[in-house]
């Protein structure tokens, strides 16, 4: 195909991408842009040229070893719900714009750490981008049959122009916004589109090769199985291969989280957490589809071309060999899509890091202070543009100098191992609040040095000297330091070996120094916020200790410079409203400092934001002693509060007791009053009767008929008796209630007492036709006051008499032995006790309305006195509630 035609196709294709991004940006709230499928497809930026071309190479050369790189992400996917969700929330809270921001913020917004992470990401991504350029340029040559492959002049190399085009495209494509934490919906939509394209084209070529050029999968398998060394390609080689696989899976597991482009799409560009739910099964499915035909294309290529041609481009070479240029173009475009999306997202992420964590905090910051908003954001944009352009161009030269000899797969793995150095700081730091910035820095540097020694140095030396003496004889000729076999571990592949040593020592350093070195207050604060992210979401603005002096005016000036007048004012207004502060507040507090830092973080990264704000804030270093003092004070407060609380509890207890006593007294007093009232009333009633009758008798002595005279005289007699009884009862009752009565406790036979009571009452009962039954004829010796027991039984029996029907009435007394007491019952067959009366019958002066006589006989004190006597014997008395007919009173006398 013609050079220019292909170039033209590429330009057309890039314009299409621009158009898609433009459309998506325009309709950024539509369902087409915000859905879990777009999110999942954007994650597929993982499948770059390495997957598209490199896997086939590995499958052809060393069998199924291409698989572990996809198994790691598949294993990671279910964990996203836990891990990625936490990372997303933290990132959203703190307006994080890159993985460098994320890690440096976790360790107290450490500027150096941010720069170090950026450096690691740069080192890890440059070869990766060069890998993409290599793929593009080589496939470009294959498509055009160009031989400039060997040209020494850069300007004469057509692939240089491809790289240049890519750089220019990426530069303008990804820098339309200043706030790096804002979403790039256009870019994400175009990445999703490319993910569809590369998968579809890859499947098309897979089907074409497997079912058109060959006769299906079985045919390919049958043919290849006749070749020599087939077995090695389809099986694992014992424990060593197993370990290699293990490390490769771990490596790709880390990569899916840590690669700057993956962090960009999975965390920063995520719209809704719930999109994750779909992604955790859809993304593994995508990877599966991508890998279905790899092995068959590889075998088909091997069958067709033998061993003498670049195995990585079988998918392109096969259709070309068969004259199908159209299909080859599709494959080229698919690969180009994989490249473009990887390069765009990677450079986007890297440029943010380079500008926010490297350039602005380490040099350009002073420039911003004097300038205006517009110029500032222009500066930031330009820094990013230059970064992107430079990164791609450096990658190109990297490719020219190093990558030509290496396979796509080998370059990709170097990237992975470098990026993996962030893993201990990143993962452990999420769940362990002791992890400190110094430890993180030491761990990453140690890890990187080991990777440099075991992986980067050997291939650099090889690329320059063409000799392999370094790898074969080791540093200074020491066996033990052979870069691919450190300490004689010689069974791992170079990347797995480098990964093993670097990540182990990195982790050990991180853990050891975290425990050994003290971290400062700021670090502990952020560590707490990350580890306990959920509990800090509401109070993050106040969640740090800060001491110093700052004026709102100064902070506002800084904000205006970066956000513009309108945005800064609006943000401050919201802040003041949120915390109920006066709009004219002069001095800024810790919350405002933190708030402003966060606002700026989106624009210029957390490290720069911290420095900028620190410039207008006279922050005083808080010494450990002061922190301790603060802690001590709050501890003291807490313990003081505890004592106070206890005291208050005691007081309220005492006062409630007092209140109870008082209430009791009031009740008692009222009862006393009521008692006196009632006594007076009860006494007055018979006196009234006596007085009236007497008066009438005196006045009408002559006129009154004899019958009536008799009646009145009888009334006087009755009332006088009543009066006498009443007085006796009242005196008894008063004695009992005030505790003046002393019982004459002796061993007595209850049977004898019952007989006496029945005897004294038998006449009255016989008159009414009521039968008295002594149910238990046996002796029972108990400890009681004979006279008082006589009174109790008399009261109960005469009470029963009042309610018994005349004729056929029965009153029976029974007793039996309980557990620790004798139980005595008095039962009648009268009307029974009305429900309403149960609560009152033992109250003084309470008289049931259910009596046979119209006017109740007795004083109304009988049962009250009875109760007092029984209780004085330590017994209990009650009326049986479940009595079907009649009334049954029960009382107990304890044996002792």
């Amino acid at each position: 195909m013609n050079n220019y035609l292909l170039f033209f196709i590429i330009v057309i294709y890039l314009s299409l991408l621009f158009y898609i991004a433009f459309l998506a940006e325009k309709k950024k709230h539509s369902k087409w842009v915000n859905n879990p499928y777009v999110y999942t497809l954007s994650l597929a930026v993982y499948c770059s040229a390495w997957t598209y071309y490199g896997s086939i190479g590995i499958a052809a050369d060393s069998g199924v070893n291409f698989l572990p790189i996809y198994l790691g992400p598949v294993i990671a996917a279910p964990l996203w719900i836990l891990l990625l969700k936490k990372i997303m929330r933290i990132s959203k809270q703190h307006k994080i714009s890159s993985i460098a921001d994320f890690i440096s913020l976790r360790y107290g917004n450490n500027r150096f750490l941010g720069a170090l992470v950026t450096f690691i990401c740069l080192f890890g991504t440059l070869p990766y981008i060069s890998l993409q350029l290599k793929a593009v340029s080589e496939t470009f040559q294959i498509m055009t049959h160009n031989t400039s492959y060997n040209s020494t002049s850069v300007l004469g190399d057509s692939t240089f122009y491809v790289a240049l085009l890519l750089a220019v495209f990426a530069t303008f494509f990804s820098t339309q916004k200043t706030d790096a934490s804002e979403k790039h919906k256009g870019i994400i939509a175009s990445v999703a589109f490319e993910s569809v394209l590369k998968l579809v084209f890859f499947l098309v070529i897979g089907v074409y090769i497997t079912f058109y050029l060959f006769d299906g999968t079985i045919d390919i398998h049958n043919q290849i199985s006749k070749k020599e060394n087939f077995k090695a390609l389809t099986s694992l080689n014992g424990l060593e291969d197993g370990l290699n696989w293990f490390f490769m899976i771990a490596l790709s597991f880390f990569a899916i989280f840590l690669l700057p482009r993956q962090f960009q799409v999975s965390v920063l560009e995520n719209n809704r957490e719930k999109h994750l739910k779909k992604a955790i099964w859809l993304f593994p499915l995508y990877l599966l589809l991508f890998n279905i035909f790899v092995i068959f294309i590889a075998w088909a290529g091997k069958l067709t071309f033998g061993n003498d041609i670049s195995t990585e481009y079988y998918s392109l070479l096969l259709p070309l060999k068969n004259g199908n240029i159209f299909l080859a173009t599709l494959v080229f475009l698919g690969g180009f899509s994989a490249v473009i999306s990887m390069v765009i997202v990677s450079t986007l992420a890297l440029s943010n890091m380079v500008s926010n964590n490297l350039i602005i905090p380490y040099g350009f910051l002073n420039k911003f202070k004097r300038n205006e908003t517009n110029r500032n954001s222009k500066y930031i944009k330009n820094i990013r543009r230059i970064s992107i352009f430079t990164i791609i161009i450096i990658s190109y030269f990297f490719y020219i100098s190093f990558s030509k000899e290496l396979s796509l797969y080998a370059i990709g793995l170097i990237s992975f191992v470098i990026i993996a150095q962030l893993a201990p700081s990143f993962f452990i730091g999420l769940f362990w609040n002791r992890g400190s910035s110094k430890a993180s820095i030491i761990g990453i540097i140690i890890g990187f040095l080991i990777v440099a020694y075991t992986l980067i140095l050997p291939f650099t030396m090889f690329a320059y000297t063409g000799a392999n003496t370094f790898v074969e004889s080791g540093f200074l000729g020491l066996d033990i330091l052979k870069p691919h076999q450190l300490f004689h571990i010689d069974f791992l592949s170079p990347p797995a070996h480098a990964f093993f040593w670097s990540i182990s020592l990195n982790t050990i350093c991180y853990l050891f120094f975290s425990l050994a070195l003290k971290s400062n207050y700021r670090e502990r604060n952020y560590a707490e916020m990350f580890v306990e992210s959920s509990s800090f979401s509401s109070l993050q603005d106040n969640a740090f200790v800060w001491k110093g002096e700052a004026y709102v005016k100064d902070i506002k000036n800084v904000l205006v410079r970066f956000l513009g007048d309108v945005k800064a004012n609006r943000a401050l207004k919201l802040f003041f409203q949120k915390y109920n502060l006066d709009a004219n507040t002069q001095l800024a507090d810790a919350r405002l400092i933190n708030f402003s830092e966060k606002l700026l973080t989106g624009n210029i990264g957390s490290a720069s934001a911290k420095i900028l704000i620190a410039n207008v804030v006279k922050e005083e270093e808080i010494s450990l002693r002061e922190v301790l003092k603060i802690l001590e004070e709050s501890k003291e407060n807490i313990s003081n509060n505890k004592v106070l609380l206890e005291k208050t509890d005691q007081l309220s207890k005492i006062s409630s007791e007092l209140k109870n006593v008082n209430e009791e007294l009031v009740v008692k007093d009222k009862q006393k009053d009521e008692f006196l009232d009632t006594v007076a009333h009860e006494l007055k009633t018979p006196i009234t009767g006596i007085r009236a009758a007497t008066e009438l008798l005196i006045d009408d002595m002559d006129e009154m008929p004899t019958e009536l005279k008799k009646q009145f005289l009888n009334n006087i007699l009755q009332d006088s008796d009543r009066l006498g009884r009443l007085i006796n009862n009242i005196l008894d009752f008063e004695k009992l209630e005030s505790g003046q009565l002393n019982l004459d406790l002796q061993v007595n036979d209850i049977q004898k007492t019952i007989i006496k009571v029945f005897a004294s009452i038998s006449q009255l009962a016989a008159k009414k036709g009521i039968k008295l039954i002594n149910k238990n004829p046996y002796k029972l010796h108990l400890f009681f006051d004979e006279d008082k027991m006589h009174q109790v039984l008399t009261n109960l029996v005469s009470n029963a008499l009042k309610f018994c029907p005349e004729k056929n009435g029965t009153i029976s007394i029974d007793y039996y032995l309980g557990n620790k007491e004798a139980i005595i019952t008095v039962e009648d067959n009268g009307k029974g006790i009305p429900k309403d009366d149960f609560n009152y019958i033992f109250d003084k002066f309470y008289q049931s309305k259910n009596q046979n006589t119209i006017k109740p006989e007795g004083s109304g004190l009988g049962l009250a006195i009875t109760k007092q006597i029984v209780e004085k014997h330590n017994g209990k008395i009650w009326a049986e509630k479940r009595q079907k007919s009649g009334a049954k009173f029960v009382f107990t006398i304890p044996f002792k």
Partner: protein, 121 residues
């Protein structure tokens, strides 16, 4: 026409004396032993005066006078409390409820009779 008097008290001895005294004054006497019996009687009779005890079983004097005052055709009927409760607060309460007089026990029969006669003239 004979004046009609309703005596409401649960003490038969006291009622007996009052009944005797008022019959002698040519009153037609009705007797109720508590508030609930009062309204049985009031269904058929409109007395000129009611003597009302306070402390009675079931429906007491206070409840009874409230009901009486709510009854339309009893507006002309005088109500006199006759109670052993003689505290100032008791008397005040009784008069507030609309009693025309509050007399206390024990009492002189002559005095009661003259008070009632005075009230009716």
């Amino acid at each position: 026409m004979k004046k009609k008097i309703l005596i409401v008290d649960d003490e038969p001895n006291i009622v007996m004396s009052l009944e005797y005294a008022f019959k002698k004054q040519n009153f037609e006497v009705f007797i109720a032993r508590d508030g609930s019996e009062v309204f049985e009687i009031l269904k058929g009779e409109i007395p000129d005066v009611i003597i009302l005890d306070v402390m009675m079983p079931n429906v007491d004097g206070y409840q009874t006078i409230k009901k009486i005052k709510e009854t339309v055709n009893l507006t002309a009927t005088k109500v006199v409390f006759l109670s052993a409760k003689n505290k100032a607060s008791d008397i005040e309460k009784g008069l507030k409820l609309g009693a025309d007089k509050y007399l206390t026990k024990p009492f002189s029969v002559k005095k009661i009779v003259s008070e009632i006669l005075e009230l009716l003239n």
